[in-house]
Subunit: 401 residues, 2 copies
């Protein structure tokens, strides 16, 4: 067997954590498997590095920020390889550029273009564990890049695909993919299996356990991904695959609590609305839930949409910049909102998921202003302060009957 | 003009320090010069990284230790380039491997074999300051290496040589090369000029301002090195060159306070003594002051020599290992000794340097047990506790009359 094992920052937070992870690795190798390890930066290292940059300047140049952040994973890969060697398990650490992680030329959020894992394969052939720094790569001109949020998961899946690995195991601080955030819902349960599509939808809607880009890559290359806990690795975790986990229409309740709702009044329904959404897309702003109420006068319509709270200033700038040209009368931003979603393959099967969801909210006296439905989800927008209660009410209706 | 500016860890200890150094760099560039910057790791970063490794294992594998330590300089180069960019001074940071620092395949103490500074030159041609990580390089197989103590000085001098720079300016926390350590001797003075040979001797005998390997490289390629203070850069500092600073027979008083004296009794004067010194050399132990007293019986002679305190355990192991074969009766190690030296070109000119030195010590009731002389120095071995007083007495005799 050939296995990629990826450890997140909380699984590597201290020397003791590194030792525990190294035990798992050495045990896997002792079973005769080829083992490639992908590591994130330890604990708060990335935040500490960002803080160091912030002491220098509020807007560090992207290239240099990448140079700085790459050190986080480089430190943890070296410590992990040291630990393995000290335990008598031959290991060699490799930076992203040494492991052949080739990316596009874009700092802070580069996509992996291809993997040329010659040195990784050489290490395996020499009987060593290859310990690869996640989250980083090199572009065509020899510049270091980073992959953005969830980047180490993406490194692990990309390496697993390039190496034809039998599995890509993501070790994290939770036991797998849950029906809801276990910190919010006490009775949340771990799925044994879940499909790529369901996982993608859950990741897009706020589930933090795996980043969408990693799931997309896994789906594209049909990599078997297993999510499990570093702290209780025997408990099984969740397997992702294309054939996984059908039968249940609803798979999870997610919550994204960094949402703003933007409302624009007096915007024409034709090219004006298109124009606005194009401007936002060009500025890198993703919009989700879109609700249009037609109004009575020709230009009396109101359009509302949700954006990530992190894009707030960009959104304001874009709207102020095109107000005159697009001729809308006013806009407002409702901050501190949350998007609570029900995710699963059974949304459009007419089995009354929406009705059940709204009834559950209603019973808790929650009346969401905005609702939207899709192939794999139904989302409502609520004030952030009600979000956890909404998740618990919905979870109880679908999973705790 | 093309200038290499090197900043040590104490000159980069915080964001404020980095800003101050960046001011010096931007000012140099504003004069129209091509500027290459070499940085050490910030403040205590290297020690912190070594401590992190020590939490994992007492004896980290050399390759992985290098991987870990390289992060120190990579972080400070990124922060420096960010700072320069934020000030509107175009800059680009380069790791050792990106700057073409090619070394031998030896971890922890690699020598630079050659410099292929294509990317550095490209950065200069684009009008940028190139900020290069000191202390690190890459070997022929693509492995990262580090250069050992004083490695960033060596990087700076090697780059200056490869780029044909007009000067290599070493910014540090002292004002230049002193006649003695200014922390010990209040009235120590800064030399305006000093020759490579004198500086080499002083570095070998304990002066910490520049590492011998950097000075050797500067002499070999005739690089003009200037040592000056980051904190008062206007005060001039010390220039090193081949034609520098003659006229004064005594140039400095140095002190190395990490010295052990080893005494071996009953060792034959012929092949036995040779054999012992060969063994020590093979184990990487440098010996300095050697004193032989013949004794009265054929095998009654005693040989004493000084070693670095850091080599103590190796020395004991070598001596225990060859005692039987070489047939000596016993050995002892006197720890906590110091070597105080007078350095200058005038030692052998018969101008009574030794007499003057011993008289100065005598007047302070210090009677060194061991004395040795060379072309460029006279050294005495004393208990560490008397070392500072000895330095002050000798400095006063030669420099404060």
């Amino acid at each position: 067997m050939r296995i990629v094992m990826k450890f997140g920052g909380s699984s590597l937070a201290s020397a003791i954590h590194i030792r525990r992870a190294a035990d798992l690795i050495a045990r896997q190798r002792a079973e005769g498997d080829d083992v490639v390890v992908v590591v994130s930066a330890q604990g708060d290292t990335t935040d500490d590095l960002i803080e160091k940059a912030r002491e220098i300047t509020e807007e560090p140049c992207g290239r240099e920020k990448d140079m700085l952040l790459c050190c986080g994973e480089q430190m943890s890969m070296a410590l992990m390889a040291m630990q393995l060697e000290a335990m008598g398990c031959p290991a060699v650490s490799l930076c992203g550029w040494q492991a052949g992680i080739r990316t596009e030329s874009r700092h802070g959020d580069a996509r992996i273009l291809k993997v040329e894992p010659d040195r990784v394969i050489r290490a395996l052939e020499e009987g060593r564990v290859a310990v690869v720094a996640g989250f980083q790569g090199i572009d065509g001109t020899g510049e270091l890049t980073t992959l953005g949020r969830g980047g180490s998961d993406t490194t692990a899946v990309a390496l697993a695909a390039a190496l034809g690995a039998d599995a890509c195991r993501i070790y994290t601080d939770v036991s797998g993919v849950y029906s809801a955030d276990p910190r919010v819902v006490e009775r949340a349960r771990v799925h044994r299996e879940i499909s790529y599509d369901e996982m993608l939808e859950m990741a897009a809607l706020g589930a933090k356990v795996l980043h969408s880009r990693a799931v997309e890559l896994a789906r594209e290359h049909n990599v078997r991904v297993e999510v499990c806990s570093t702290f209780s690795p025997q408990s099984g975790g969740t397997a992702l695959g294309s054939e996984c986990g059908h039968g249940q229409p609803v798979r999870g309740i997610t919550c994204d609590d960094r949402v703003d709702m933007v409302t624009v009044a007096g915007l024409g329904a034709g090219p004006e609305t298109c124009g606005l959404f194009n401007r936002l897309a060009d500025s890198g702003v993703s919009i989700d839930v879109i609700i249009r109420s037609p109004g009575e006068q020709p230009r009396g319509g109101v359009v509302s949409f949700s954006v990530s709270a992190g894009d707030r200033e960009t959104v304001r700038a874009v709207l102020n910049g095109c107000r005159e040209e697009l001729g809308f009368s006013a806009f407002s931003v409702q901050t501190d909102m949350a998007k609570v979603s029900v995710v699963g393959v059974g949304m459009s099967d007419g089995c009354g998921v929406a009705a059940k969801m709204l009834r559950a909210l209603q019973e808790g006296d929650l009346r969401p202003q905005y609702i939207t439905t899709g192939e794999l989800r139904i989302s409502v927008i609520l004030p952030k302060t009600c979000a956890s209660r909404a998740v618990r009410l919905i979870h109880s209706a679908f999973f705790e009957e």
